[in-house]
Symmetry: C2
Subunit: 341 residues, 2 copies
């Protein structure tokens, strides 16, 4: 069933039917109702591809899903997607998800953009000096960045959390508790958030004339395996750190396991603060020793980003171009006074 058939059935022109459907004013109330009724009965749905071709609008948001055989599934991605979906549902939008090799993000994004399949683009997993930014800016298609790209002019629309402040504050707290030897279990070094978090730690330590020992910094994938491995290594150091900062509760999961296995008491022998993306599965309060965290909901970010992107497509944008969300510092039992030497 297509427009032509429907309009013939009704004895109307395609124009009128189309207008009736799309809420244009110049169609008689009676006629409109007749059309709507026929749509109900026949189950007619406009062909999206044709609509897209005619209007240039597709009602869809494009995003790239990094994936490669063997790569671990990223819990954070799913959580974010849930938020995105929640908002998209309200506006009858959908996503076009292009899987891409992590080494070909630029290419995948470009393909998506010129495919004519999407109205707006969304990018995340931002890197320092991210090459995708230039491409996006040249594209004349709304886009939104989750995160930022250190080293690039911040002249693009983004939503980010204040990673630097989060980790600055967390470090500060630990310093006040008397800790002097720190370790940082961070995400991959090339990612923007990892860089900023490290900067935050460095800044707080520098104020006290301290610095992170190279052996106490790790940049790994955000999996609990890596957390375990790194933590095991760190615990064997001569002067082992008493304060641990983790870029994710997922990393913390492994780190805590290592700490338990070493028969150390979390919050007493060793303190730990993790960043909490409010993952459904992994609540810091559910750890055996509840975790002190810096918190910002990834899912809420997804909702907000969908909201802004859709507004951008519909040209009803009234949102600020750039948002920097503060994180909350939530103190639980995993942080305590530094043990006596």
């Amino acid at each position: 069933m297509n427009l032509k058939q429907l309009s013939q059935m009704l004895g109307l022109s395609q124009t009128t039917v189309s207008r009736a459907l799309n809420g244009y004013p110049e169609v008689n109330r009676e006629t409109r109702e007749r059309v709507l009724k026929a749509v109900q009965e026949t189950g007619y749905r406009p062909n999206k591809a044709a609509q897209r071709l005619a209007t240039g609008k597709a009602g869809s948001i494009g995003l790239v899903m990094p994936t490669a055989p063997g790569n671990p599934t990223d819990l954070h991605f799913g959580e974010f997607l849930t938020g995105l979906g929640e908002e998209a549902l309200r506006h009858d939008f959908h996503f076009v998800v292009t899987p891409a090799d992590p080494n070909d993000e630029v290419g995948a994004l470009k393909r998506l953009a010129v495919s004519g399949n999407v109205d707006a683009l969304f990018v995340n997993y931002m890197r320092g000096h991210d090459p995708r930014l230039d491409m996006l800016k040249s594209l004349s298609m709304p886009f939104l960045v989750h995160g930022r790209s250190i080293g690039s002019e911040p002249d693009y629309p983004f939503l980010d959390i204040d990673n630097e402040a989060a980790f600055y504050d967390a470090t500060k707290l630990l310093l006040q508790l008397g800790h002097r030897r720190f370790a940082l279990l961070n995400g991959p070094m090339y990612l923007d958030f990892a860089i900023r978090r490290k900067n935050g730690v460095d800044a707080a330590l520098a104020e006290r004339g301290l610095a992170l020992d190279e052996a106490c910094i790790s940049h790994t994938a955000m999996t609990d395996e890596q957390g375990l491995l790194v933590m095991e290594r760190i615990l064997q150091l001569d002067k082992r750190p008493t304060a641990i900062l983790c870029s994710s509760t997922v990393l913390a999961l492994g780190a805590v396991r290592a700490i338990n296995q070493a028969k150390l008491k979390l919050g007493e022998d060793i303190s730990l603060i993790a960043h909490d993306d409010v993952l459904t599965l992994l609540k810091p309060e559910n750890f055996t020793v509840p975790l002190t965290t810096t918190r910002s909901s990834l899912r809420a970010a997804g909702v907000r980003i969908a909201e802004r992107l859709i507004a951008g497509i519909k040209h009803t944008e009234t949102f600020p171009e750039q948002e920097l969300w503060k994180t909350e510092l939530i103190v639980r039992a995993s942080t305590g006074v530094a043990p006596a030497e």
Copy 2:
């Protein structure tokens, strides 16, 4: 840059350029190379919507993502999507993801199907007597079901794991270890896999003249919170069970926490077997007491499903229509001989 412009640039007709691009034989080698070179230089990409309209093919797989505000993110969904993506990448396919209220899965699926945006459909979270099946069959579009629908004629293409056998075997093992009182932490009652798993348990118990106590069966969302809650309740029963079956390692995560809090020893006071979807985050071997599991990789299922769907679209299908994967029963430390009364 579109076909028209490109062909004008080259002094060729649109037809010839189109044919050159799509590998038709009736175009001169030289001409083809000239076209390809121009494409390289100009960065021309065919408009997908137009292509879709003209050919009826979109190079995309449609799927519905259940989502509602407040609903927990489903870890299993992300893991599966990773597998799907991994395979789709190899064939230059993408997904169209429609978020949908869990109560409107039929409607969402229908919208997706008639939208003209997708070439094939995929459905999961199958229910008993699933209403989507009739719709799919009437659609003349390739589709594939992950799971099955008990109560419906099994005359549709599916990929499922043998849930009944998995839980039958697991129960059997526990029986052999001397356990007589069982509990089952299951997924939502209306879902097919949950029904079958319960059937498996029932069957094995029935062979020994045993049955599940109503108080020892739970049907909940597959979150660790629910696992904790249910397990806490079960542990307070008068004659508490000594053998626990869990429909997911996510549920097990909570259940184990409850067991620990009750100061019971897993594998001694109480035995537990969980189904392991091979979630990246949650490895049964990483539990403090490694978990005995029935195992089947959700991600592998994703890969396989993408493979079959894409073959279906390209009409190169040589795969069986219906696949039932056996699960592995992997014995670790969470199962032990039943404690003496």
